[in-house]
């Protein structure tokens, strides 16, 4: 399912003294099966973009296309459930949305809201709980007896059990330890590959964006600053650093090395392995690839 934002503008609290322009003239495409990272500072509008992806917010100007559904500014929209079933959002700190008595009930909550039968929802819950790396015996526990990391996983399972076609992740690893981060990021990448799930990752972490995304969109002050593949984006790391954004450690190292030697290595590397090869041949005096 493709999602496309066409020249959207969004104003918070329009027509009040608190009016604030959050997005202006943002256009972007999320083709079916792609993995897209949206990056930007706090306040750059990335979370606002995210809420347009399943019509939690309606643009104040422009059009949002979600599959065959068109959401246009200034029009009353009915029955958005169908859209929300297909686009699952994992919000920042999703563990805050847990409320049921047992983990199983909480995971079943989403699917059953969308009309899935109880037996089917339970089946999905037992699948989802293992997808997020927990064991089935946790299903009977209260979500409030779990550790923070486990709660996060349960909340993610609750979104996965909806079996969305597009999954939108807002800083899914915020506040987790490094190992937990990697596990969660790998889990989503696995799902993306196995089920051809379109994935949108909203993040501060350039490392994650570089490692997983096919395309990176950089937001700045409510508009799209730049978009491209990771190697395109990081081919001019200095511009990003000047903007106050991070670049991956590998890219930073290469940049420093190039500055120290006063010449370019020809190719931007995104992984340590790639960089090692390039640096090795560079130091041997060979022609950089």
């Amino acid at each position: 399912m493709d999602i496309s934002l066409q020249n959207i503008e969004y104003r918070y609290q329009a027509d009040t003294p608190f009016e604030r322009l959050a997005l202006s003239d943002v256009s972007l495409d999320i083709p079916s099966g792609s993995y897209i990272a949206i990056i930007g500072h706090t306040g750059s509008g990335k979370s606002t973009v995210l809420q347009h992806l399943n019509a939690l917010l309606k643009p104040t100007k422009g059009t949002v296309l979600i599959g065959s559904r068109e959401i246009r500014a200034g029009r009353k929209e009915k029955n958005l459930k169908a859209v929300r079933e297909k686009v699952g959002i994992v919000f920042q700190f999703p563990e805050h949305q847990l409320f049921e008595e047992t983990v199983e009930k909480d995971i079943c909550f989403g699917p059953m809201n969308f009309g899935v039968s109880e037996t089917e929802a339970k089946r999905r819950a037992s699948v989802a709980i293992e997808q997020v790396g927990l064991t089935k015996d946790i299903l009977e526990k209260s979500p409030f007896d779990l550790s923070g990391g486990q709660m996060r996983r349960v909340a993610i399972a609750g979104v996965l059990a909806m079996e969305p076609q597009v999954i939108v992740l807002d800083e899914p690893t915020a506040g987790l330890d490094p190992r937990g981060r990697k596990e969660i990021m790998d889990l989503f990448y696995q799902l993306h590959q196995d089920k051809n799930l379109s994935t949108v990752l909203v993040t501060h972490s350039m490392e994650d964006a570089a490692a997983y995304a096919d395309e990176i969109i950089i937001m700045h002050q409510g508009s799209v600053f730049e978009k491209g593949t990771p190697s395109e984006i990081f081919s001019a790391p200095q511009a990003l650093i000047d903007m106050g954004l991070d670049v991956p450690e590998v890219v930073r190292f290469q940049l420093k090395l190039e500055q120290a030697f006063g010449r370019k290595m020809g190719k931007v590397c995104l992984t340590a392995e790639e960089l090692t090869d390039v640096v090795a041949s560079f130091l041997k005096g060979g022609n950089p690839s």
């Binding site: 918070y12 809420q51 979104v159």
Partner: protein, 265 residues
């Protein structure tokens, strides 16, 4: 969702009302709430309305915004109006439909009471619109100061107030966030049958309660860690200062009160 609620919000601006001492504003509100009951005929209501409109003008808050903010309470006003129309008896019946009648007195009372209601809402909103919560608490603490002599916990009360006011926006934000998270999981808050919408409150309230308790605990620990021991011997960073304008405004209200007493029937 909750963006339209006017009551309890602060709009920064540079106006006479914004600059006034919170104490004088609190005294004025308190007196106003009392003198509203003096009005009992068209003239006195006109005086009150004129005073209220003057105050709204002095606040430099866009009238359009004030009016838009009143919309949510209009239902309550309408309800009061209807209640009086149908249930207050007295004077000549104006409309008679079988055993059901609307009386002159009902119309009169209905209009007066709803007007009183509206005026009260506008004036109290003006207080919060032009005064930061922290100023209000400082003002209250200072006004209630004498009660300390009889061991009334004035400081603690003020602290409780400022903490709860401080967390209103946070709570609103959180409500919005959790609402959206549950909407993304298929809950409908704005459409669908009433029964379902009522049920939808549970997945909203439980997370809110849990996070509020957690936050209260964290706040208590943070305050203790910074050596908070209550109000004894504490000095103030923000000083209140009473100016000529404050005295003037109180005198204006006194004049209005006098007029009301003269003109009331």
């Amino acid at each position: 969702m909750m963006e339209k609620v006017l009551f309890g919000r602060y709009v920064p601006a540079d106006s006479l009302l914004h600059r006034m001492d919170p104490r004088s504003k609190l005294i004025i509100i308190f007196l106003y709430v009392c003198i509203v009951f003096l009005a009992n005929n068209p003239w006195t209501y006109l005086i009150l309305a004129a005073y209220t409109i003057l105050m709204a003008g002095l606040s430099k808050i866009a009238p359009r915004f004030l009016i838009a903010g009143l919309k949510p309470v209009l239902w309550l006003v309408l309800f009061t109006l209807l209640l009086h129309l149908f249930f207050t008896k007295g004077g000549e019946p104006v409309v008679q439909l079988g055993s059901f009648a609307i009386y002159e007195e009902g119309i009169r009372q209905g209009i007066f009471i709803s007007l009183r209601f509206l005026l009260l809402i506008v004036v109290t909103s003006l207080l919060t619109l032009t005064t930061t919560p922290i100023e209000i608490t400082d003002g209250l603490e200072s006004l209630l100061g004498p009660l300390k002599k009889v061991n009334f916990p004035v400081h603690e009360l003020a602290l409780m107030m400022s903490i709860s006011l401080r967390f209103i926006p946070t709570l609103m934000q959180e409500t919005d966030k959790i609402m959206k998270a549950q909407m993304a999981r298929g809950v409908e808050y704005t459409s669908g049958p009433i029964k379902d919408r009522l049920k939808a409150i549970v997945p909203l309230l439980i997370p809110l309660f849990i996070s509020s308790f957690k936050r209260a605990e964290e706040l208590a620990i943070a305050m203790e860690a910074r050596g908070y021991r209550g109000g004894v011997g504490r000095t103030k960073y923000r000083q209140l200062n009473w100016t000529f304008a404050d005295t003037g405004m109180i005198l204006l209200l006194a004049a209005v009160t006098l007029l009301l007493i003269v003109f009331r029937g």
